[in-house]
């Protein structure tokens, strides 16, 4: 069992719920660490349905968006599915402005993300 610093991982049936711990996804080293931990779930642990829970996240930078895009690509490369959920309105606006709401599967909350991924 690996230890994570940037994420909390739990299982809801076949879906892995990944709660991002940090309030601000900002610092380059923290972004890399978070990315590595999630990538480990995909590549080492073979998880193929991930719900990324943003309920703790109050702020993210464009570098964090870049990391999410990279993770989404990796997941799609493994024929897996990644959903983002519980995103506060200000951050959702960032996804809309950049049109990344077209790239990511964005759900209202964990329950909706789990239901979509388990369908």
């Amino acid at each position: 069992m690996s230890t994570h610093r940037r994420i909390d991982v739990s299982a809801r049936g076949p879906v892995t719920v990944v709660q991002i711990v940090d309030k601000k996804i900002l610092d380059e080293s923290a972004i890399q660490e978070m990315g590595s931990e999630i990538l480990g779930l995909i590549e080492q642990d073979g998880r193929r349905s991930l719900a990324l829970d943003f309920s703790h996240v109050e702020y993210l930078s464009s570098a964090a968006l870049g990391k999410l895009i990279t993770l989404d690509r990796k997941m799609k490369g493994h024929q897996g599915r990644l959903s983002l959920c519980s995103i506060r309105p200000e951050i959702l606006e960032v996804f809309k402005i950049t049109k990344l709401n077209k790239v990511f599967d964005i759900r209202k909350d964990v329950a909706e993300a789990v239901a979509a991924l388990d369908a």
Partner: protein, 147 residues
């Protein structure tokens, strides 16, 4: 530094290292709260300032320890003005591809300047492209929405 009535003003030089903006950002966020800016505007200004300083440190000065980033912040109850200048050769902001084009949506980088422009009332680069001036006017609609 001024009072709430006169507004707040801060000018400093940051080292060209990652995380160098931490203290000035904390101070800026405190001042936005002191001057009663609504949460949505605080988020916008935070994002724009952070992106501008990170760009200056990483892309402008290329993390060169011999170079600094000059930051000037002014906060009043109606206006925020932030200037960020690096010591790099500059760039042409018009050369940044539109990140919202269908074929560029999954490119991981190149969104910082676009977000700064979207979230601030005014954003201008000098002709060299190594100094950016950003302003945010208080939006009465955001205040009304926050009530």
């Amino acid at each position: 530094m001024g009072t709430k009535t006169n507004g707040w003003h801060k000018e400093l030089h940051l080292p060209s290292e990652r995380g160098a903006s931490r203290h000035i950002m904390e101070e800026l966020l405190d001042q936005l709260a002191t001057h009663g800016w609504p949460q949505s505007d605080v988020f916008a200004i935070h994002l724009a300032a952070e992106e501008a300083i990170t760009n200056a440190i990483v892309h402008g000065n290329k993390l060169d320890e011999s170079k600094t980033v000059h930051v000037v912040c002014r906060v009043s109850s109606q206006m925020v003005r932030i200037e960020v200048a690096d010591q790099g050769p500059g760039f042409d902001p018009k050369s940044i591809p539109d990140c919202t084009l269908e074929e560029r949506l999954d490119v991981p980088n190149g969104r910082g300047v676009m977000l700064m422009r979207s979230f601030m009332t005014r954003l201008e680069y000098n002709t060299t492209g190594n100094r950016v001036l950003m302003e945010k006017q208080r939006d009465p609609a955001a205040d009304a929405a926050a009530e």
